[in-house]
Symmetry: C2
Amino acid sequence: MPTTHTRRYVLAARPATTTGPLEDGVLRYEDHAPVPAVQDGQVLVRVAWLSLDVATRGWMNDVRNYLPPAPLGEAMRALGAGVVTQSRHPDFAAGDRVSGLLGWQEHAVVDGSTLRKVPEGVPLQAALHVLGISGQTAWLGLHDIGRPAPGETVVVTAAAGAVGSLAVQLAVAAGARVIGVAGTPEKCALVRELGAVDCVDYREQDVATAIAELAPDRVDVVFDNVGGAMLDALLPHLAVKARVVLCGAVSRYREGGPAPLRNWFHLLPNRVRMEGFIYLDHADRFDEVEADLLPRVRAGELRCQEHVLDGLKAAPDGIRLLLTGTNHGKALVKLG
Amino acid sequence: MPTTHTRRYVLAARPATTTGPLEDGVLRYEDHAPVPAVQDGQVLVRVAWLSLDVATRGWMNDVRNYLPPAPLGEAMRALGAGVVTQSRHPDFAAGDRVSGLLGWQEHAVVDGSTLRKVPEGVPLQAALHVLGISGQTAWLGLHDIGRPAPGETVVVTAAAGAVGSLAVQLAVAAGARVIGVAGTPEKCALVRELGAVDCVDYREQDVATAIAELAPDRVDVVFDNVGGAMLDALLPHLAVKARVVLCGAVSRYREGGPAPLRNWFHLLPNRVRMEGFIYLDHADRFDEVEADLLPRVRAGELRCQEHVLDGLKAAPDGIRLLLTGTNHGKALVKLG
């Protein structure tokens, strides 16, 4: 008997601010929303995992972004992974493990062309971190823009986060000397375990002073997930021809908007390249990146700590966790 | 009879600030300084023209830069052009027209390996603008980093300046839609004459508002010679995958230091590349660039307005002109 109803969170209203906390009424929980009939080319998926990302907060705003704003009145846009229960797309059959933009709901009808199959030999949720958005983002940002040479110094901010921890591991594997920046002693300990030579606890230490000591020959690559004041503190310590990967800017949700870059001038005499980066631009390369990541994931060489929240109703809290940096690793919602 | 003495300006002391005006005592005029004997590999040049550049001010400071600070007690570092009067270098003979780092002096002894010959069919001082630092900078910044495609919109700041006016012409020649930003109606008129579709007078108009109107489809390339508040005003108007060429930052001398970039966040969702650029990095390509520029210069297709100051004693005033933006075109000192 086909699934006819689903629990879901609908984006009911735009938040009052683009960076502030979510008001009541932005997200509306629905216990019994109708699931549309599966049309030709579509697939019905039983969603097992949802990916919580800082980007999710940005998609709620009605502002110019790399994707159109998430539509009002529909299940909130989010990456998810699950199992196909019905298919009218030739590439998929019931039982296939898939990932894609499934949304904050337990049953999703989506175009098959937007889905990827989850490789065998890895847990389903790996498609949402080490083999998904986090791993793809870390790989493409590090290797396409950062391009660390062996022996170069790489600084990764939010280094205990999902993307950051993978960027640390990939940079170490590339032979770089990696320094992390993170927000608690526990997070810093994790970053060191992943192979970083050291990790700066930005709540306890002055980042600029610490980096100057840890990288007396300056920094060749910054893989930045934070932006604002933290990025600004790093700019005077860049080496000639350094690369700054602008991968995320969680600071804008913490500092009441993005703090200005006062030290931008250092980019000029040092001929620094600073480049914004969105992993979705590189969908044509996901297969290539996955082919590089997959054996390393299967061999246990790439780790991603999971911060699992239980049940759809926990999703809004998950976004709050991310924006305050109180998650530990990749924030996921495990459904039903 | 060999030249034994020269007039020169010696860098006698570092300026008190890195961006403020030059105090008395920073530069010392000498009427009768000894010229060293020409050694093997060296050349004696009768300097005819000196290039005044915003960079000259930066070289006076004892701060990390793309070149070491200009040495104290020597003729102030500067590009110049002149005629060889004595040579102990196999590639040069008396009468050769050359350019290089000749310094603020009328007679310079330099290593022949640091000199370039000035091509025939162009005036000597062209080696200091359209075929020299200004033309090389405009060409390399525009074509290596900016890379405008035909039909793309390019904004050039300080568009009436030496580098700016050449960047305008090269971008127009590349098929781009060019908008200039300059500081007086006369400068804007010049920029339009050079082929820009329009020019924003930043003293009369709000740059952000004007650019939003002139480039409703946003800006693909910014060729920036100003930095600070002006660059910041442009960032929210960048197109997806836009390129920002950080070529100069004259604003730091006008705003009491470089003003912060408040709008840096726009680089991220728009995947903008912002890159600092120093033409001296690309010395191995000067021949290639010159080969492209030379026929266009000879054909009169590339113009560079000259702002000529007369005699060595005018050089310090020339630097002040540049830093206040009151020069008109390439600032040069004509000697003796």
